[in-house]
């Protein structure tokens, strides 16, 4: 068993942080890589990109949003309990290079994934501006952590309850208008990455996104995670999860993410009936 040593609830309990003992993975993991978790014998294999790793302590941290049966099940796991299986680190690490001025854009739990990448990009000597957004103030996560690893942090909320009212793309546009941005890293919901990429394409700024298709093995064995990038089919688990944002077919990805929505609903409802709250 992979034991949970720390657990936090964020975003009004819709987002959960787990720090988990996984020394072999912690020893190897690099920013941008993910793990696959399975809670118990009957559980599903769920990929989550790591938000933090501590090789000395031998722990990894994941932050996930509760969206269906499997994450609802994850949410019931308390400190001292744990996951039956965790596999990783999987996927390619982020290419961390000194390029000059970098903008890191995050939305939802994507901010958790963005955080270690932002830190690495800053540590290597880039000037980092970060933009993070949420629907409203209470749903925003990791503000302090992002502030600590960025030269400048901009915040947007859809309802204007905190920071600038609007979308991350509004704030990004202003930064891009100033010119002299060499790289944008965007991680969050698929529509957000789609619109960020559309915008940066207009400005001709290289953009990296991190994709989260449905996966099974995470080792390139099943092809379930396939995404179209340019005119090629790529397996996100081994060729990604990061890709050139200007080439990704986001519409196809959004459809494919809906493959099991009916199953999800059935499963989730059953689970919620049995586990009220």
């Amino acid at each position: 068993m992979f034991k949970i040593v720390k657990r936090e609830e964020m975003s009004e309990g819709t987002v959960i942080l787990n720090e988990i003992e996984a020394p072999l993975i912690a020893r190897k993991a690099k920013p941008g890589q993910f793990v696959i978790l399975k809670a118990n014998e009957t559980g599903e294999r769920i990929p989550l990109t790591m938000a933090e790793t501590d090789p000395e302590k031998g722990t990894i941290t994941v932050i996930y949003m509760v969206v269906g049966k499997s994450t609802a099940l994850f949410k019931t796991l308390m400190v001292g309990e744990g996951y039956q299986d965790i596999i990783g680190p999987l996927g390619k690490p982020t290419d961390v290079e000194k390029v000059g001025n970098v903008v890191c854009v995050g939305g939802g739990t994507g901010i958790a994934v963005l955080h270690p990448i932002t830190r690495a990009l800053k540590e290597i000597g880039n000037h980092v501006t970060s933009i993070i957004g949420a629907r409203s103030k209470d749903l925003l996560i990791l503000e302090d952590k992002m502030k600590a690893v960025s030269h400048e942090l901009l915040i947007t909320t859809d309802d204007g309850s905190y920071g600038r009212k609007g979308f991350v793309t509004d704030a990004l546009k202003d930064v891009l208008d100033k010119g002299d941005t060499q790289l944008v890293v965007a991680i969050g919901p698929v529509p957000m990455m789609k619109f960020v990429s559309k915008l940066t394409q207009e400005y001709g700024v290289k953009t990296i996104v991190s994709l989260n298709p449905i996966m099974v093995d995470g080792t390139g064995m099943c092809g379930g995670c396939r995404v179209t990038v340019g005119d090629q089919t790529k397996f996100a688990c081994v060729d990604g999860p990061e890709f050139d944002g200007h080439k990704v077919d986001y519409d196809e990805l959004m459809l494919r993410l809906q493959a099991y929505c009916e199953h999800e609903q059935q499963c989730y409802n059953d689970f919620c009936m049995l586990n009220p709250q």
Binding site: L24, G43, G218, M221, G224, V238, E252, L255, Y260, H263
Partner: protein, 473 residues
């Protein structure tokens, strides 16, 4: 003399004992094993059909050279425990081989009795001995040599890796198997369905190795969690790579990424390993098609098409671009599939998948084929017939047209020479790769083959590893 004569006459009169099976209509709706196995009486009767040849053709036909007349004689005499011990001398996974080996082209294909009538049912007898031991045996372990003080790492827990583990543990080595999935067994677990190879049996065979002292470490993706070089740093003296083929081949035609188009690997892994056929008791979902089309006609395709029936398909069709004579699956599998209601469309190939506005597959366009000149494989090449387009309605497509070499491990390991298709180069006589202290065998060397060939390669590598750890590279 006279007595012998009558005995011979009697023996010749015994027909090949059929294996009782679930009725097709019934079994097409459940995941329980199709054949029930022999009773001790039937097994003994079948065993009598063996002529106990002085130069047994069957042994030469067996990739691991099981003493076939030897174990059959012991069944005939009712010495079932001795019989399984005889099998174990050459084959550590008899319950599995008895079920999935292509006996018709191996031992049974060359059995003398088969020259005039039907061959001795060697596979059924092997299965009987192994099942009997599992259900009634003593559970005693075979003897183990003194500890050698050397450690061997095995990467991949398919039949190749398990064979190396079984062979070397009894020779006194410390063995650890590293498996990427959360459960060991390789294709035996995630590929071959329950109704053909119950997972309980795979688990028991692995449990047997664990009782012998083999350590199985799951969730270890070698090349990611740990590298081959790190295994040596961690004190392993030799490494065997048996990671299987493990790369799905998908079709590169329009609509290939629509929802409802699975690689056979994904479809079978969801159903078998993740037990999606028991959704929602198990959490992993699977698309249950009404009109299912499986592309390809190998064992993997048969398993997929038959799984689809069990998951409620009204139509389960196989579309294959060559003709019936070229079908690569075992006859028994094709026969079982047909009995259960799988339909075959020969000489046809898809040109395009058609989707709806939700990105789900609703049909496919195909072209009819005719057979032209033989290609590299010696089979006649299918050539499209112009203007022969036709459409098939389908809400689930399973692509089972073959597998390739998964590059995850091979590309993260320096010094391993690969062939032009990405498979590992290994000496067929020893299993040695170009990297010192590293052996390889099974599908990652040969490309997709069979359980028994993977085991044969494991056996050869195990012997060579033993030599190396005793005498040097």
């Amino acid at each position: 003399m006279v007595e012998q004569e009558t005995k011979k006459v009697k023996r010749e009169k015994i027909p090949r004992q059929p294996m009782p099976e679930q009725e097709p209509e019934l079994r097409a709706k459940n995941f329980e094993e199709v054949p029930f196995g022999y009773s001790p009486e039937t097994a003994m009767k079948e065993a009598e059909r063996c002529l106990q040849c002085k130069k047994p053709a069957c042994i030469a036909g067996c990739p691991v050279e099981i003493d076939i007349p030897g174990f059959i004689r012991l069944i005939k005499e009712g010495e079932f425990t001795k019989s399984i011990r005889k099998l174990w001398e050459r084959n550590s996974l008899p319950a599995i081989c008895g079920r999935v080996c292509p006996q018709e082209i191996q031992c049974e294909g060359v059995c003398i009795v088969g020259k005039k009538g039907e061959p001795v049912a060697i596979g059924n007898l092997e299965r009987f001995a192994a099942d009997w031991e599992r259900e009634n045996g003593t559970g005693d372990l075979p003897p183990k040599a003194e500890p050698k003080g050397k450690k061997v790492a095995i990467v991949g827990s398919g039949p190749a890796g398990l064979t190396v583990a079984g062979d070397l543990i009894v020779k006194g080595y410390e063995i650890t198997v590293f498996e990427a999935f959360h459960k060991p067994g390789g294709v035996l677990l995630y590929g071959i369905p329950e109704f053909r190879l119950p997972k309980e049996i795979v688990a028991q065979e692995i449990n047997f190795l664990e009782r012998l002292g083999v350590k199985v470490e799951c969730n270890q993706v070698v090349g990611r969690t740990v590298s081959i070089n790190e295994l040596f740093e961690d004190g392993y003296d030799a490494v065997f790579i048996g990671v299987g083929a493990g790369l799905p081949i998908l079709l590169n035609i329009p609509g290939k990424n629509l929802i409802g188009i699975y690689s056979a690997n994904e479809y079978l892994t969801r159903s078998n390993l993740m037990k999606a056929y028991r959704f929602p008791e198990y959490d992993t979902p699977i698309i249950r098609g009404r009109n299912v089309v499986t592309l390809g006609a190998g064992n993997v395709a048969m398993d997929s098409a038959r799984t689809a029936l069990r998951l409620g398909a009204e139509n389960s069709r196989i579309v294959y671009r060559r003709s019936r004579t070229e079908v690569p699956a075992r006859d028994a599998e094709v026969h079982h599939a047909e009995e259960e209601g799988v339909e075959f469309f020969f000489l046809a190939a898809p040109t395009k998948f058609i989707g709806n506005d939700q990105g789900r597959v609703v049909g496919m366009e195909c072209l009819k084929m005719e057979l032209g000149e033989p290609d590299d494989s010696g089979r006649r090449r299918p050539v499209p017939m112009e203007g022969s387009e036709f459409e098939l309605e389908c809400d689930l497509v399973i692509v089972a047209v073959g597998a390739g070499a998964n590059p995850l491990l091979t590309q993260s390991t320096e010094g391993l020479a690969l062939n032009k298709w990405g498979y590992i180069q290994a000496d067929p006589k020893t299993g040695k790769t170009t990297k010192k202290g590293v052996w390889a065998g099974g599908d990652i060397v040969t490309g997709s083959a069979t359980v028994i060939l993977a085991m044969g390669a494991g056996r050869i590598a195990a012997n060579s590893i033993d030599d190396y750890l005793t005498w040097g590279w």
